[in-house]
Symmetry: C2
Subunit: 317 residues, 2 copies
């Protein structure tokens, strides 16, 4: 038996963040362009707003100034009052939350544009199992967008709302695009084109939804975060082994028990000691060295997604 | 008629620099390892010294702290007296020059280990047309090293000694290894292995030379720097076009008049307007955005290299 469609109110306030990390250049370049010429973003039913999330970091072409903006949207930071000694990104997080994330001005949909040095293709990253609208949007991207040299993957970091520290969490619905591989500070035309195509396709979906199009139920694969794996380290905390060449660039490729994962500089190989097949992601991401993350293991789960339609007026009264 | 062999004195003082740029991780990782365990470097006729060139930048995993160390070895910087307000790298350049580059302690051979985000394979970069010993070493690397997934290219930036600002210039002979592509801040096992193999092979060559082996004359291709090309920019100095996808990753591939080189965000394509075939290099290198370099054009020239042998004692007396 089919479950009845989920109903959502129209999506009218949409923001597109780029430069949340100042050296992830696809989003930086696109948002800078849209700020000068937003005509491409215009849709019949809404007018999306581009926003450079971390302008100081963009100016210096670094990930962040004092602390990672995309880890600064904690309840604690957002609810505490401003202090002079706060990291720049804490102040900026409060500003962005004030403008896009709270009260009657709460935005309906947040796109957050990122790049990774890992071979992650076009990863569609969501932070809540319950956000059905963004799952439909992701499905639309997977079916509609032509370029298959960077395939789309559904990615889920399932975090309780209260523990979520990511920028995308400030909106009602959200999707983070993580495109790679692209080195920090570099604009690759192919990656930029793919990101632009995905954003436009996402806006088309929201426009169709607002106009009353119904989207049928479907079943989809989701890569769901299991655990973060650190590099092996010596007694002083220094990395003592690095990603094995057999694992490098193999994001989303099944990792089986016994597969090589790390190699020491003396050629000693460390193998995967799990007992099930898992899917490694964000392998050898430059920005994750300081976070003590060599890669993130996910499981591939199948998920039934109910149909989606616009909330009809009688639900409002 | 064959010219007579060039004679050189033995090469006994050899330094291997890594971390000249603190986020170029192959050299950083190898030199850190060799500082702990130098046994791999030992050769019959000499004992190479590993040195972390910019330890503060390595610690922070950035290219440099105040200014680019590998542009700090100018006569002006090296000969001026220290001042508190000097960039950190100016002080460090004087320290390194004092220890390795001057007086009776002058080093015979300098290896300088770098990575690039460009698809440069294993680029063997030299700064002087006259350094015949390093050309023989490069030839030895090209013939001896097994791994052909990162082929060796002979690269020449021909700069008069007095205008040379590069670290490698402080020794009598030198070779800079530029391996890529590798993102900044990332350790790729394949690139690290290739760099290690090349350094060891280079040390083998010097050891054979010191033991009296003669190296015959040969002819070789050299990519010689012609000109640096900046990104197109708007009136405010911002980049207005980026590397065309047809040029991306095509380092050392012949670039013909009319070939696409840049694309604007609106899809306008800019073509190569030269009238000869040239060879683009360092295409889309992350660190060169701030130097206003989109790529560096080279010409491929053929060079006859005379034979090389150890200077015999009677030349000393």
């Amino acid at each position: 038996m089919m479950s009845s469609p989920i109903q959502c109110p129209p999506v009218s306030r949409v923001v597109i963040f780029g430069g949340t990390h100042g050296n992830e250049m696809s989003g930086v370049t696109l948002v800078k362009h849209w700020l000068k010429d937003p005509s491409e973003l215009h849709r019949k039913t809404f007018e999306p707003e581009p926003c450079l999330a971390n302008p100081l970091a963009v100016e210096k072409c670094v990930r962040y100034i004092d602390s990672d903006l995309n880890r600064s949207f904690s309840e604690e930071v957002l609810s505490s009052s401003e202090s002079e000694s706060d990291p720049y990104e804490f102040k900026r997080a409060r500003e962005l939350n004030q403008k896009y994330g709270s009260g009657p001005g709460l935005f309906d949909f947040v796109f957050d544009l990122h790049n990774t040095t890992s071979n992650m293709g076009a990863t569609l990253l969501r932070c809540s199992e319950d956000d059905i609208l963004s799952l439909h949007l992701a499905k639309y991207l997977q079916s509609s967008s032509g370029n298959q040299s960077m395939p789309c993957y559904n990615y889920l970091i399932d975090i309780p709302k209260k523990d979520n520290v990511y920028l995308q969490n400030i909106g009602k619905h959200s999707l983070c695009l993580e495109l790679g591989p692209q080195p920090q500070g570099v604009i690759r035309a192919d990656v930029l084109t793919r990101m632009r195509e995905l954003v436009n396709c996402g806006l088309d979906f929201l426009d169709l939804f607002n106009q009353g199009k119904e989207f049928p139920s479907f079943e989809t694969d989701i890569y769901k975060v299991l655990t973060r794996v650190d590099y092996p380290r010596d007694h002083s905390g220094e990395i003592s082994a690095f990603i094995h060449s057999g694992l490098q660039d193999k994001d989303y490729v099944p990792l089986k028990p016994g597969d090589p994962i790390f190699t020491t500089i003396n050629g000693e190989v460390l193998h995967c000691n799990g007992d099930t097949v898992v899917y490694p992601t964000f392998i050898n991401e430059a920005a994750y060295y300081e976070k003590k993350v060599a890669f993130i293991l996910t499981e591939k789960v199948s998920r039934k997604v109910p149909a989606l339609k616009l909330e009809t007026l009688e639900h409002h009264v």
